[in-house]
């Protein structure tokens, strides 16, 4: 009952929160002293990056680990990992795009050899590699095992991205939202907008994940309907 209700509410809640974020971000919050209206990207880029790195890649990694662990091994986990990784590609690309858009006016270039930028791009290639690896393996069990191992190996990159700003002391913004002292360095309406954007994009992720998962289940179901047909035609071979 609760589960159904929360599922039913996922879509509307996402829409409401994201709508609120855009409304607050574009019209209500003030422009920044230094950045001017560019600061409004603050309500998009960090939240998307957060979802790309932690929420979606994290989901994929945890699901993969659960698949590899014998006690929780099931294709449900494999499917979740796969769908999360696909959605993750979308969010990584969005991170790169919003970051580039922000970088052009602030740094004067679309791209820089900054450690965070490069490692984020590498994460994108890893996610694509994951999808390519799935394509190359046809046996479902082997595919699930191999891609799970690969997802876990790839996850090593996530902390590297996070700490890259400290380790390499480069161009990219240091921790602003999640500082080690956990005090938010922005205030008032901006803080609320930021909060909404994080929650909103996180909900968006789960919404997309659910949609993708259902599609995958449907695809598998339709292929199991095809299976009966395939079995019948195979059995009739050679029995003329």
């Amino acid at each position: 009952m609760m589960k159904q209700l929360s599922q039913r509410l996922l879509g509307p809640a996402t829409l409401v929160l994201l709508g609120l974020t855009f409304w607050l971000g574009l019209w209500v919050t003030p422009p920044d002293r230094v950045q001017g209206d560019l600061v409004r990207l603050l309500y998009v880029h960090p939240a998307i990056a957060w979802v790309a790195l932690y929420v979606s890649f994290g989901t994929a990694t945890i699901a993969s680990a659960l698949y590899l662990w014998r006690r929780t091994r099931s294709y449900v986990m494999d499917r979740i990992a796969y769908c999360a990784m696909e959605v993750s590609v979308v969010f990584i690309v969005l991170t790169l795009i919003t970051g580039s858009i922000w970088g052009r006016p602030t740094w004067g270039v679309w791209w820089a050899w900054d450690a965070r930028l490069t490692s984020t791009a590498i994460l994108g290639v890893l996610a694509l590699g994951y999808l390519a690896l799935r394509r190359a393996n046809e046996d479902p069990a082997l595919r699930a095992r191999r891609s799970a191992v690969f997802a876990i190996l790839s996850a090593i990159n996530v902390p590297i991205i996070h700490f890259s700003v400290q380790w390499w002391k480069t161009l990219h913004q240091g921790a602003t939202v999640f500082t080690s002292s956990r005090t938010v360095l922005v205030h008032g309406s901006m803080a609320w907008t930021l909060l909404f954007s994080f929650v909103g994009f996180t909900l968006l992720f789960f919404w997309l994940l659910r949609a993708r998962y259902r599609l995958e289940v449907k695809r598998e179901a339709s292929s199991s309907a095809q299976l009966d047909e395939a079995l019948a035609s195979r059995r009739s071979e050679g029995t003329f």
């Binding site: 791209w111 820089a112 791009a121 694509l128 394509r135």
Partner: protein
Amino acid sequence: MIRTALLVAAKDLRIELRSRVLLWQVVPFGVMALLLSGLALGPAHAGSSSAGPGLFYLVTLFVALLMINRSQAIESTPGTRASVATLGLDPAGVFLGKSLALCVELWATGLVLLAGAILVLHTALHGALVALPSIGVTLAAMAAAGTLYGALTAGGDGAATLLPVLTLPAFAPLLIAGERSFSAALHGGALWEWWVILAVALVVYLAIGVLLYGVLEES
């Protein structure tokens, strides 16, 4: 000759479309190599746009090696070689066809890599557009040379590893001319001479291929 060339090119491209090796594997590899080259050289070097053309060609070169390799691998499963040999295809046509298919694939990959260079290495968009024709010719010459050298190393053991050794020296002049003309397009300078060199190289490789490909095929 032309008919054979088209037949062979269509076959190679169809196999590529079927297996999607290019889309899923070679292109991401190129993008990755671009990122890594940038990293390996450190921000100081990579950022300076004077390194852009060099890196672009270096990466294209490695991608081309993968693709030449694949282009030969298609022909060299044990049985294929014998069955196809007995079709008695015109070697000049086979050469042109395989070059053509390789060229199309290289162009497609080259465009992606160029976009990457513009985004990642700050190569000026305008300069890149000016350089486009010279890049096209360079890649075409690479395709022709690669097909030639691919046939040279085909069949033997470890073809995959022998190929680069032979091909790299042959690519060196192309690489230099391509890089210089790209740089010239970016920073101004004489475009003509490099153009001529590249076009001559293309014609020479095509001519050698048409004349000698038959000799290279396993007897």
